[in-house]
Protein backbone atom coordinates (compact mmCIF):
# COMPACT_ATOMS: atom_id res chain seq x y z
CA UNK A 1 0.00 0.00 0.00
CA UNK A 2 1.30 3.42 -0.95
CA UNK A 3 -0.17 6.44 0.79
CA UNK A 4 0.44 9.91 -0.55
CA UNK A 5 -0.79 12.83 1.50
CA UNK A 6 -0.92 16.45 0.40
CA UNK A 7 2.28 16.05 -1.58
CA UNK A 8 3.84 19.15 -3.13
CA UNK A 9 7.02 19.62 -5.06
CA UNK A 10 8.25 23.05 -6.02
CA UNK A 11 11.43 23.47 -8.02
CA UNK A 12 13.60 26.56 -7.96
CA UNK A 13 12.08 29.43 -9.90
CA UNK A 14 8.74 28.72 -8.18
CA UNK A 15 7.87 25.93 -10.61
CA UNK A 16 5.11 23.83 -9.06
CA UNK A 17 5.45 20.24 -10.22
CA UNK A 18 3.01 18.80 -7.68
CA UNK A 19 0.27 20.67 -5.84
CA UNK A 20 -1.17 18.85 -2.86
CA UNK A 21 -1.49 15.40 -4.38
CA UNK A 22 -3.34 12.95 -2.16
CA UNK A 23 -4.03 9.36 -3.13
CA UNK A 24 -3.70 5.77 -2.07
CA UNK A 25 -2.32 3.13 -4.39
CA UNK A 26 -3.10 -0.49 -3.66
CA UNK A 27 -1.79 -3.69 -5.20
CA UNK A 28 -2.16 -4.41 -8.91
CA UNK A 29 -1.41 -2.19 -11.83
CA UNK A 30 -1.85 1.52 -11.36
CA UNK A 31 -1.74 3.87 -14.32
CA UNK A 32 -0.53 7.42 -14.05
CA UNK A 33 -1.44 9.40 -17.10
CA UNK A 34 -1.10 13.01 -18.11
CA UNK A 35 0.50 15.29 -20.65
CA UNK A 36 4.19 16.13 -20.72
CA UNK A 37 5.11 18.35 -17.79
CA UNK A 38 2.06 17.28 -15.78
CA UNK A 39 4.12 16.16 -12.79
CA UNK A 40 4.12 12.40 -13.43
CA UNK A 41 7.88 11.99 -13.40
CA UNK A 42 8.24 14.15 -10.28
CA UNK A 43 5.74 11.92 -8.50
CA UNK A 44 7.50 8.76 -9.70
CA UNK A 45 10.88 10.10 -8.64
CA UNK A 46 9.56 10.92 -5.18
CA UNK A 47 8.16 7.39 -4.88
CA UNK A 48 11.52 5.98 -5.97
CA UNK A 49 13.34 8.04 -3.35
CA UNK A 50 15.17 10.14 -5.91
CA UNK A 51 13.47 13.39 -5.07
CA UNK A 52 12.51 14.94 -1.78
CA UNK A 53 9.03 16.44 -1.61
CA UNK A 54 8.67 20.10 -0.67
CA UNK A 55 5.88 19.18 1.72
CA UNK A 56 3.47 16.36 2.44
CA UNK A 57 4.14 12.73 3.15
CA UNK A 58 4.66 9.49 1.26
CA UNK A 59 4.46 6.11 2.85
CA UNK A 60 5.54 3.07 0.83
CA UNK A 61 4.68 -0.27 2.42
CA UNK A 62 4.98 1.34 5.83
CA UNK A 63 8.24 3.17 5.08
CA UNK A 64 8.26 6.93 5.43
CA UNK A 65 9.93 8.27 2.28
CA UNK A 66 10.77 11.58 3.92
CA UNK A 67 13.35 9.85 6.10
CA UNK A 68 16.70 8.43 5.05
CA UNK A 69 15.92 5.05 6.64
CA UNK A 70 12.56 4.90 4.87
CA UNK A 71 14.21 5.58 1.51
CA UNK A 72 16.83 2.88 2.08
CA UNK A 73 14.19 0.34 3.10
CA UNK A 74 12.11 1.16 0.02
CA UNK A 75 15.12 0.81 -2.30
CA UNK A 76 15.38 -2.83 -1.28
CA UNK A 77 11.80 -3.42 -2.51
CA UNK A 78 11.98 -1.38 -5.66
CA UNK A 79 12.28 -2.03 -9.37
CA UNK A 80 12.63 1.19 -11.31
CA UNK A 81 12.71 2.06 -14.97
CA UNK A 82 13.44 5.76 -15.49
CA UNK A 83 12.14 7.63 -18.48
CA UNK A 84 15.61 7.94 -19.94
CA UNK A 85 17.65 4.98 -18.86
CA UNK A 86 21.26 4.86 -19.92
CA UNK A 87 23.32 1.71 -20.04
CA UNK A 88 27.03 1.02 -19.83
CA UNK A 89 27.94 0.79 -23.53
CA UNK A 90 30.92 -1.50 -23.00
CA UNK A 91 29.09 -4.18 -21.06
CA UNK A 92 27.05 -6.91 -22.67
CA UNK A 93 23.38 -7.23 -21.77
CA UNK A 94 24.10 -10.28 -19.64
CA UNK A 95 26.88 -8.51 -17.79
CA UNK A 96 24.80 -5.40 -17.24
CA UNK A 97 21.90 -7.38 -15.79
CA UNK A 98 24.28 -9.39 -13.61
CA UNK A 99 25.84 -6.13 -12.38
CA UNK A 100 22.49 -4.55 -11.54
CA UNK A 101 21.26 -7.76 -9.91
CA UNK A 102 24.15 -7.81 -7.50
CA UNK A 103 23.72 -4.13 -6.73
CA UNK A 104 20.08 -4.94 -5.96
CA UNK A 105 21.33 -7.41 -3.38
CA UNK A 106 20.93 -10.69 -5.30
CA UNK A 107 24.21 -12.04 -3.97
CA UNK A 108 23.65 -15.73 -4.60
CA UNK A 109 25.30 -16.41 -7.94
CA UNK A 110 23.01 -19.26 -9.05
CA UNK A 111 19.87 -17.25 -8.24
CA UNK A 112 21.32 -14.27 -10.05
CA UNK A 113 22.25 -16.29 -13.10
CA UNK A 114 18.79 -17.89 -13.24
CA UNK A 115 17.05 -14.52 -12.95
CA UNK A 116 19.22 -12.96 -15.64
CA UNK A 117 18.58 -15.85 -18.03
CA UNK A 118 14.82 -15.78 -17.38
CA UNK A 119 14.60 -12.06 -17.96
CA UNK A 120 16.77 -12.08 -21.06
CA UNK A 121 14.44 -14.76 -22.42
CA UNK A 122 11.36 -12.83 -21.28
CA UNK A 123 12.37 -9.68 -23.17
CA UNK A 124 13.46 -11.81 -26.14
CA UNK A 125 17.09 -10.82 -26.16
CA UNK A 126 18.69 -14.23 -25.66
CA UNK A 127 20.36 -14.13 -29.05
CA UNK A 128 21.83 -10.68 -28.48
CA UNK A 129 22.62 -11.03 -24.77
CA UNK A 130 26.35 -11.41 -25.32
CA UNK A 131 26.59 -8.35 -27.51
CA UNK A 132 27.81 -5.06 -26.06
CA UNK A 133 25.03 -2.64 -25.26
CA UNK A 134 26.48 0.05 -27.50
CA UNK A 135 25.39 -2.08 -30.46
CA UNK A 136 21.75 -2.19 -29.31
CA UNK A 137 18.90 -0.30 -30.93
CA UNK A 138 16.66 2.02 -28.88
CA UNK A 139 13.97 -0.65 -28.54
CA UNK A 140 16.45 -3.28 -27.40
CA UNK A 141 17.85 -0.90 -24.79
CA UNK A 142 14.32 -0.27 -23.56
CA UNK A 143 13.78 -3.99 -23.18
CA UNK A 144 16.98 -4.32 -21.17
CA UNK A 145 15.71 -1.43 -19.05
CA UNK A 146 12.53 -3.36 -18.33
CA UNK A 147 14.50 -6.52 -17.58
CA UNK A 148 16.70 -4.75 -15.04
CA UNK A 149 13.63 -3.30 -13.31
CA UNK A 150 12.29 -6.82 -12.80
CA UNK A 151 15.51 -8.15 -11.25
CA UNK A 152 15.40 -9.10 -7.60
CA UNK A 153 11.62 -9.75 -7.55
CA UNK A 154 10.61 -6.24 -6.51
CA UNK A 155 7.56 -5.54 -4.38
CA UNK A 156 7.06 -2.18 -6.04
CA UNK A 157 7.70 -1.66 -9.72
CA UNK A 158 7.82 1.91 -11.03
CA UNK A 159 8.03 2.20 -14.79
CA UNK A 160 8.14 5.54 -16.54
CA UNK A 161 7.04 5.40 -20.20
CA UNK A 162 8.12 1.77 -20.62
CA UNK A 163 6.76 1.27 -24.13
CA UNK A 164 8.22 4.36 -25.77
CA UNK A 165 10.35 3.33 -28.72
CA UNK A 166 8.97 -0.20 -28.94
CA UNK A 167 7.24 -1.68 -31.97
CA UNK A 168 3.53 -2.62 -31.58
CA UNK A 169 4.18 -6.31 -31.03
CA UNK A 170 6.80 -5.60 -28.41
CA UNK A 171 4.53 -3.06 -26.72
CA UNK A 172 1.87 -5.71 -26.28
CA UNK A 173 4.41 -8.15 -24.90
CA UNK A 174 5.75 -5.65 -22.38
CA UNK A 175 2.24 -4.63 -21.39
CA UNK A 176 1.33 -8.26 -20.75
CA UNK A 177 4.55 -8.77 -18.87
CA UNK A 178 3.79 -5.84 -16.58
CA UNK A 179 0.22 -7.11 -16.11
CA UNK A 180 1.60 -10.48 -15.06
CA UNK A 181 3.93 -8.76 -12.62
CA UNK A 182 0.96 -6.89 -11.17
CA UNK A 183 -0.36 -10.14 -9.72
CA UNK A 184 2.76 -10.36 -7.57
CA UNK A 185 3.57 -6.73 -6.81
CA UNK A 186 2.37 -3.16 -7.12
CA UNK A 187 3.12 -1.75 -10.55
CA UNK A 188 2.97 1.98 -11.19
CA UNK A 189 2.93 2.69 -14.88
CA UNK A 190 3.41 6.25 -16.01
CA UNK A 191 2.59 6.95 -19.61
CA UNK A 192 0.86 9.25 -22.01
CA UNK A 193 -0.12 6.32 -24.24
CA UNK A 194 -3.72 5.77 -23.19
CA UNK A 195 -3.86 2.44 -24.97
CA UNK A 196 -1.30 1.05 -22.54
CA UNK A 197 -3.50 2.06 -19.62
CA UNK A 198 -6.74 0.79 -21.13
CA UNK A 199 -5.28 -2.66 -21.74
CA UNK A 200 -3.58 -3.21 -18.45
CA UNK A 201 -4.63 -0.96 -15.55
CA UNK A 202 -7.54 -1.51 -13.21
CA UNK A 203 -6.84 1.73 -11.39
CA UNK A 204 -5.60 5.06 -12.67
CA UNK A 205 -5.08 8.73 -12.03
CA UNK A 206 -4.99 11.58 -14.49
CA UNK A 207 -2.59 14.25 -13.46
CA UNK A 208 -2.15 17.70 -14.95
CA UNK A 209 -0.34 20.83 -13.82
CA UNK A 210 0.65 19.06 -10.62
CA UNK A 211 -2.91 18.21 -9.57
CA UNK A 212 -5.05 15.10 -9.79
CA UNK A 213 -7.89 15.54 -12.27
CA UNK A 214 -9.29 12.05 -11.95
CA UNK A 215 -8.77 9.09 -9.70
CA UNK A 216 -10.63 5.83 -10.19
CA UNK A 217 -10.97 2.89 -12.52
CA UNK A 218 -11.11 3.05 -16.31
CA UNK A 219 -14.86 2.41 -16.49
CA UNK A 220 -15.52 5.37 -14.15
CA UNK A 221 -13.47 7.54 -16.46
CA UNK A 222 -15.38 6.31 -19.50
CA UNK A 223 -18.68 7.08 -17.75
CA UNK A 224 -17.60 10.71 -17.47
CA UNK A 225 -17.51 11.11 -21.22
CA UNK A 226 -20.65 9.16 -21.98
CA UNK A 227 -23.02 11.29 -24.10
CA UNK A 228 -20.15 13.60 -25.09
CA UNK A 229 -18.64 11.58 -27.95
CA UNK A 230 -20.07 11.81 -31.44
CA UNK A 231 -19.27 11.03 -35.01
CA UNK A 232 -20.06 13.58 -37.70
CA UNK A 233 -20.02 12.72 -41.38
CA UNK A 234 -19.66 15.80 -43.51
CA UNK A 235 -18.30 16.95 -46.81
CA UNK A 236 -18.17 20.50 -45.59
CA UNK A 237 -16.02 22.28 -43.07
CA UNK A 238 -14.34 20.73 -40.10
CA UNK A 239 -16.70 20.88 -37.10
CA UNK A 240 -15.93 23.54 -34.52
CA UNK A 241 -18.14 25.52 -32.12
CA UNK A 242 -16.30 24.25 -29.08
CA UNK A 243 -16.03 20.66 -30.30
CA UNK A 244 -12.77 18.84 -29.84
CA UNK A 245 -11.92 16.67 -32.82
CA UNK A 246 -10.46 13.37 -31.65
CA UNK A 247 -10.00 11.71 -35.03
CA UNK A 248 -10.53 12.33 -38.73
CA UNK A 249 -11.30 9.57 -41.22
CA UNK A 250 -11.46 10.16 -44.97
CA UNK A 251 -14.36 8.14 -46.46
CA UNK A 252 -15.64 7.89 -50.05
CA UNK A 253 -18.74 9.94 -49.20
CA UNK A 254 -17.08 12.60 -47.05
CA UNK A 255 -15.01 13.00 -43.94
CA UNK A 256 -15.97 11.35 -40.66
CA UNK A 257 -14.98 13.26 -37.55
CA UNK A 258 -15.03 11.87 -34.05
CA UNK A 259 -15.72 14.79 -31.74
CA UNK A 260 -16.14 15.56 -28.07
CA UNK A 261 -18.70 18.01 -26.79
CA UNK A 262 -22.27 18.90 -27.68
CA UNK A 263 -22.63 19.40 -31.43
CA UNK A 264 -25.27 21.67 -32.94
CA UNK A 265 -28.29 19.93 -34.49
CA UNK A 266 -27.28 20.81 -38.06
CA UNK A 267 -24.27 18.53 -37.83
CA UNK A 268 -26.47 15.41 -37.81
CA UNK A 269 -24.14 13.84 -35.28
CA UNK A 270 -24.38 10.24 -34.10
CA UNK A 271 -23.58 9.44 -30.47
CA UNK A 272 -20.97 6.77 -29.90
CA UNK A 273 -19.61 4.89 -26.89
CA UNK A 274 -16.54 6.71 -25.56
CA UNK A 275 -13.15 5.03 -25.46
CA UNK A 276 -10.70 5.59 -22.64
CA UNK A 277 -8.80 7.98 -24.88
CA UNK A 278 -11.98 10.00 -25.54
CA UNK A 279 -12.62 10.18 -21.82
CA UNK A 280 -9.07 11.25 -21.10
CA UNK A 281 -9.24 14.02 -23.67
CA UNK A 282 -12.65 15.07 -22.37
CA UNK A 283 -11.36 15.26 -18.81
CA UNK A 284 -8.32 17.23 -19.92
CA UNK A 285 -10.40 19.63 -21.99
CA UNK A 286 -12.80 20.23 -19.10
CA UNK A 287 -9.91 21.09 -16.80
CA UNK A 288 -8.73 23.74 -19.23
CA UNK A 289 -12.07 25.55 -19.53
CA UNK A 290 -11.99 29.08 -18.09
CA UNK A 291 -13.87 29.84 -14.87
CA UNK A 292 -14.36 26.16 -14.16
CA UNK A 293 -13.30 24.56 -10.96
CA UNK A 294 -10.75 21.82 -11.14
CA UNK A 295 -12.45 18.46 -10.69
CA UNK A 296 -12.11 17.18 -7.18
CA UNK A 297 -9.90 14.11 -6.94
CA UNK A 298 -11.83 10.96 -6.22
CA UNK A 299 -10.24 9.21 -3.24
Amino acid sequence: MIEINNLTKTYSGNVHALRGVTMTIGSGMFGLVGPNGAGKTSLMRILAGLLRPSSGSVNVFGHDMTTSQGKQATKALLGYLPQELGLYPNLTAREFLDYIAILKGVTDSSTRKRQVEELVEMVRLSDAANRRLKTYSGGMKRRIGIAQALLGTPKLLIVDEPTVGLDPEERVRIRNLLSDMASRCTVILSTHIIEDISHSCNDLAIINKGGVLFRGNPSDLITRARGKVWTILTSGERPNNGLAVVSTLQLHNGVQYRVLGTPDAHYNATPVEPSLEDSYIWTMSQSQLPHQEMPIPVP
Partner: protein
Amino acid sequence: MNTSLVQLGKMTYYEFRMHWRGRALLVVMLAIAVMNIFSIWIFSSNTLPIELDMTYAAVGLISAPLTLTLAVLLPIIISDTIPKDQQYGVRELLDTLPVPHWVYLGGKLLGMWAGVLLGLFAVMVVNGIFYHFTIGALDLRLYIEMWLVAGAALLVINGSLGVLIPVGQPSRRRAVILMVALFVLPFAFAGQIFDTASLLAYINPIRPAIVLYYIANMGEQVSGNLTAFTSNDVLLTIIAGLIELTLVGVLAWGWLRWKENRA
Protein backbone atom coordinates in the same frame (compact mmCIF):
# COMPACT_ATOMS: atom_id res chain seq x y z
CA MET B 1 29.39 -13.31 2.92
CA ASN B 2 28.30 -9.79 3.76
CA THR B 3 26.11 -8.32 0.99
CA SER B 4 28.11 -5.09 0.79
CA LEU B 5 31.38 -6.97 0.35
CA VAL B 6 29.92 -9.13 -2.41
CA GLN B 7 28.63 -5.96 -4.10
CA LEU B 8 32.07 -4.37 -3.73
CA GLY B 9 33.78 -7.38 -5.28
CA LYS B 10 31.47 -7.60 -8.26
CA MET B 11 31.51 -3.86 -8.81
CA THR B 12 35.31 -3.96 -8.84
CA TYR B 13 35.19 -6.74 -11.41
CA TYR B 14 32.86 -4.87 -13.77
CA GLU B 15 34.62 -1.53 -13.33
CA PHE B 16 37.88 -3.31 -14.19
CA ARG B 17 36.32 -4.69 -17.37
CA MET B 18 34.83 -1.35 -18.34
CA HIS B 19 38.18 0.41 -17.86
CA TRP B 20 39.89 -2.02 -20.21
CA ARG B 21 37.12 -2.02 -22.76
CA GLY B 22 37.08 1.78 -22.77
CA ARG B 23 40.51 1.91 -24.47
CA ALA B 24 41.77 4.94 -22.48
CA LEU B 25 43.72 2.73 -20.11
CA LEU B 26 45.16 0.77 -23.00
CA VAL B 27 46.35 4.02 -24.55
CA VAL B 28 48.02 5.09 -21.29
CA MET B 29 49.77 1.76 -20.88
CA LEU B 30 50.90 1.69 -24.47
CA ALA B 31 52.17 5.24 -24.09
CA ILE B 32 54.29 4.24 -21.08
CA ALA B 33 55.56 1.11 -22.78
CA VAL B 34 56.41 2.82 -26.07
CA MET B 35 58.11 5.80 -24.38
CA ASN B 36 60.17 3.41 -22.28
CA ILE B 37 61.13 1.28 -25.25
CA PHE B 38 62.08 4.40 -27.19
CA SER B 39 64.25 5.63 -24.28
CA ILE B 40 65.95 2.29 -23.92
CA TRP B 41 66.54 2.11 -27.66
CA ILE B 42 68.15 5.58 -27.73
CA PHE B 43 70.20 4.61 -24.71
CA SER B 44 71.31 1.35 -26.30
CA SER B 45 72.62 3.14 -29.36
CA ASN B 46 75.45 4.19 -27.02
CA THR B 47 75.81 7.70 -28.39
CA LEU B 48 75.81 9.40 -24.99
CA PRO B 49 79.16 11.11 -24.34
CA ILE B 50 79.23 10.03 -20.69
CA GLU B 51 79.75 6.93 -18.64
CA LEU B 52 76.76 5.92 -16.52
CA ASP B 53 76.11 3.32 -13.90
CA MET B 54 73.81 1.14 -15.99
CA THR B 55 71.90 -0.12 -12.99
CA TYR B 56 70.69 3.32 -12.01
CA ALA B 57 70.43 4.47 -15.56
CA ALA B 58 67.91 1.74 -16.30
CA VAL B 59 65.46 2.69 -13.59
CA GLY B 60 66.07 6.37 -14.21
CA LEU B 61 65.24 5.96 -17.86
CA ILE B 62 62.11 3.98 -17.26
CA SER B 63 60.89 5.97 -14.28
CA ALA B 64 60.52 9.22 -16.20
CA PRO B 65 57.71 8.22 -18.59
CA LEU B 66 56.13 6.03 -15.91
CA THR B 67 55.98 8.59 -13.14
CA LEU B 68 55.00 11.52 -15.30
CA THR B 69 52.23 9.53 -16.96
CA LEU B 70 50.88 8.21 -13.69
CA ALA B 71 51.21 11.53 -11.87
CA VAL B 72 49.70 13.77 -14.53
CA LEU B 73 48.05 11.83 -17.35
CA LEU B 74 46.35 9.03 -15.39
CA PRO B 75 44.19 11.30 -13.16
CA ILE B 76 42.98 13.12 -16.26
CA ILE B 77 42.30 9.97 -18.26
CA ILE B 78 40.32 8.26 -15.49
CA SER B 79 38.59 11.41 -14.22
CA ASP B 80 35.35 10.38 -15.94
CA THR B 81 35.01 7.17 -13.93
CA ILE B 82 32.17 8.59 -11.79
CA PRO B 83 30.82 11.41 -14.03
CA LYS B 84 30.28 8.95 -16.88
CA ASP B 85 27.52 7.32 -14.82
CA GLN B 86 25.68 10.62 -15.04
CA GLN B 87 26.53 11.12 -18.69
CA TYR B 88 25.48 7.61 -19.70
CA GLY B 89 22.22 8.07 -17.77
CA VAL B 90 22.92 5.23 -15.33
CA ARG B 91 23.19 7.46 -12.27
CA GLU B 92 19.43 7.74 -11.74
CA LEU B 93 19.10 3.97 -11.74
CA LEU B 94 22.08 3.53 -9.40
CA ASP B 95 20.51 5.99 -6.98
CA THR B 96 17.48 3.71 -6.61
CA LEU B 97 19.58 0.68 -5.72
CA PRO B 98 20.41 -0.35 -2.15
CA VAL B 99 24.14 0.27 -2.53
CA PRO B 100 26.00 2.03 0.31
CA HIS B 101 28.05 5.04 -0.81
CA TRP B 102 31.27 3.49 0.45
CA VAL B 103 30.64 0.43 -1.73
CA TYR B 104 30.02 2.65 -4.75
CA LEU B 105 33.19 4.69 -4.26
CA GLY B 106 35.20 1.64 -3.21
CA GLY B 107 34.10 -0.32 -6.27
CA LYS B 108 35.08 2.54 -8.56
CA LEU B 109 38.50 2.84 -6.89
CA LEU B 110 39.31 -0.85 -6.69
CA GLY B 111 38.20 -1.38 -10.28
CA MET B 112 40.53 1.37 -11.45
CA TRP B 113 43.41 0.08 -9.32
CA ALA B 114 42.96 -3.44 -10.63
CA GLY B 115 42.83 -2.24 -14.23
CA VAL B 116 45.91 -0.03 -13.95
CA LEU B 117 47.88 -2.57 -11.92
CA LEU B 118 47.36 -5.23 -14.56
CA GLY B 119 48.53 -2.81 -17.24
CA LEU B 120 51.55 -1.69 -15.22
CA PHE B 121 52.56 -5.27 -14.54
CA ALA B 122 52.46 -6.06 -18.24
CA VAL B 123 54.46 -2.93 -19.11
CA MET B 124 56.99 -3.72 -16.37
CA VAL B 125 57.58 -7.20 -17.76
CA VAL B 126 57.74 -6.11 -21.41
CA ASN B 127 60.08 -3.20 -20.68
CA GLY B 128 62.28 -5.35 -18.46
CA ILE B 129 62.66 -7.99 -21.15
CA PHE B 130 63.36 -5.36 -23.79
CA TYR B 131 66.01 -3.74 -21.59
CA HIS B 132 67.58 -7.11 -20.85
CA PHE B 133 67.96 -7.95 -24.52
CA THR B 134 69.08 -4.54 -25.74
CA ILE B 135 71.34 -3.31 -22.95
CA GLY B 136 71.93 -6.11 -20.52
CA ALA B 137 70.92 -7.52 -17.16
CA LEU B 138 68.84 -5.36 -14.85
CA ASP B 139 69.26 -4.89 -11.14
CA LEU B 140 65.92 -6.58 -10.50
CA ARG B 141 65.64 -5.42 -6.91
CA LEU B 142 66.00 -1.78 -7.88
CA TYR B 143 63.83 -2.21 -10.95
CA ILE B 144 60.93 -3.76 -9.02
CA GLU B 145 61.37 -1.28 -6.17
CA MET B 146 60.95 1.56 -8.66
CA TRP B 147 57.72 0.08 -10.02
CA LEU B 148 56.40 -0.50 -6.52
CA VAL B 149 57.39 2.81 -4.99
CA ALA B 150 56.84 5.12 -7.94
CA GLY B 151 54.24 3.13 -9.86
CA ALA B 152 52.05 1.83 -7.07
CA ALA B 153 52.26 5.00 -4.96
CA LEU B 154 51.27 7.24 -7.84
CA LEU B 155 48.54 4.85 -8.89
CA VAL B 156 47.03 4.72 -5.42
CA ILE B 157 47.38 8.43 -4.66
CA ASN B 158 46.99 10.29 -7.94
CA GLY B 159 44.84 7.63 -9.62
CA SER B 160 42.42 7.62 -6.69
CA LEU B 161 42.32 11.42 -6.59
CA GLY B 162 41.51 11.29 -10.29
CA VAL B 163 38.47 9.14 -9.50
CA LEU B 164 37.31 10.89 -6.33
CA ILE B 165 37.83 14.61 -6.95
CA PRO B 166 35.39 14.85 -9.90
CA VAL B 167 32.65 12.99 -7.98
CA GLY B 168 30.34 16.01 -8.21
CA GLN B 169 30.98 16.82 -11.85
CA PRO B 170 27.96 16.29 -14.09
CA SER B 171 29.84 15.49 -17.28
CA ARG B 172 33.05 13.91 -18.49
CA ARG B 173 34.19 17.16 -20.05
CA ARG B 174 33.84 19.08 -16.79
CA ALA B 175 35.71 16.32 -14.97
CA VAL B 176 38.57 16.42 -17.46
CA ILE B 177 38.80 20.23 -17.31
CA LEU B 178 38.93 20.12 -13.52
CA MET B 179 41.66 17.52 -13.48
CA VAL B 180 43.70 19.30 -16.15
CA ALA B 181 43.53 22.40 -13.99
CA LEU B 182 44.62 20.48 -10.91
CA PHE B 183 47.33 18.33 -12.42
CA VAL B 184 48.75 20.43 -15.24
CA LEU B 185 48.65 23.95 -13.80
CA PRO B 186 51.18 23.11 -11.04
CA PHE B 187 53.77 22.85 -13.80
CA ALA B 188 53.54 26.62 -14.06
CA PHE B 189 55.28 26.74 -10.68
CA ALA B 190 57.72 24.01 -11.54
CA GLY B 191 60.75 26.20 -11.01
CA GLN B 192 59.88 26.77 -7.37
CA ILE B 193 58.72 23.32 -6.42
CA PHE B 194 60.77 20.84 -8.34
CA ASP B 195 63.95 21.58 -6.48
CA THR B 196 62.57 22.27 -3.05
CA ALA B 197 61.92 19.63 -0.46
CA SER B 198 59.16 21.43 1.39
CA LEU B 199 55.56 20.97 2.45
CA LEU B 200 54.51 22.59 -0.82
CA ALA B 201 56.44 19.95 -2.72
CA TYR B 202 54.97 17.12 -0.63
CA ILE B 203 51.38 18.17 -1.22
CA ASN B 204 51.93 19.14 -4.84
CA PRO B 205 49.64 16.95 -7.01
CA ILE B 206 52.49 16.26 -9.44
CA ARG B 207 54.36 14.56 -6.55
CA PRO B 208 57.78 15.96 -7.61
CA ALA B 209 59.70 13.93 -5.04
CA ILE B 210 58.44 10.64 -6.50
CA VAL B 211 58.71 11.80 -10.11
CA LEU B 212 62.32 13.01 -9.73
CA TYR B 213 63.75 10.57 -7.22
CA TYR B 214 64.72 7.78 -9.63
CA ILE B 215 65.60 10.14 -12.45
CA ALA B 216 67.94 11.84 -10.02
CA ASN B 217 69.80 8.59 -9.44
CA MET B 218 70.84 8.78 -13.05
CA GLY B 219 70.87 12.55 -13.14
CA GLU B 220 73.33 12.94 -10.34
CA GLN B 221 75.84 11.13 -12.47
CA VAL B 222 75.13 13.45 -15.35
CA SER B 223 74.88 16.82 -13.75
CA GLY B 224 76.08 16.34 -10.23
CA ASN B 225 73.05 17.50 -8.29
CA LEU B 226 69.80 17.67 -10.16
CA THR B 227 67.52 17.54 -7.18
CA ALA B 228 67.44 17.71 -3.45
CA PHE B 229 64.83 14.97 -3.10
CA THR B 230 65.79 11.98 -0.98
CA SER B 231 64.09 8.71 -0.09
CA ASN B 232 62.84 10.48 3.01
CA ASP B 233 61.12 13.07 0.80
CA VAL B 234 59.54 10.26 -1.20
CA LEU B 235 58.18 8.75 2.01
CA LEU B 236 56.85 12.11 3.21
CA THR B 237 55.26 12.70 -0.18
CA ILE B 238 53.51 9.33 0.02
CA ILE B 239 52.27 10.05 3.54
CA ALA B 240 51.05 13.51 2.52
CA GLY B 241 49.36 12.00 -0.54
CA LEU B 242 47.60 9.36 1.53
CA ILE B 243 46.35 12.04 3.93
CA GLU B 244 45.05 14.06 0.95
CA LEU B 245 43.42 10.93 -0.40
CA THR B 246 41.70 10.20 2.89
CA LEU B 247 40.37 13.75 3.11
CA VAL B 248 39.15 13.69 -0.49
CA GLY B 249 37.58 10.26 0.08
CA VAL B 250 35.67 11.50 3.12
CA LEU B 251 34.55 14.60 1.19
CA ALA B 252 33.41 12.49 -1.78
CA TRP B 253 31.45 10.18 0.51
CA GLY B 254 29.97 13.20 2.31
CA TRP B 255 29.03 14.79 -0.98
CA LEU B 256 27.14 11.68 -2.13
CA ARG B 257 25.37 11.53 1.20
CA TRP B 258 24.49 15.21 1.12
CA LYS B 259 23.21 14.88 -2.43
CA GLU B 260 21.03 11.95 -1.46
CA ASN B 261 19.53 13.79 1.50
CA ARG B 262 19.04 16.98 -0.48
CA ALA B 263 17.32 15.23 -3.41
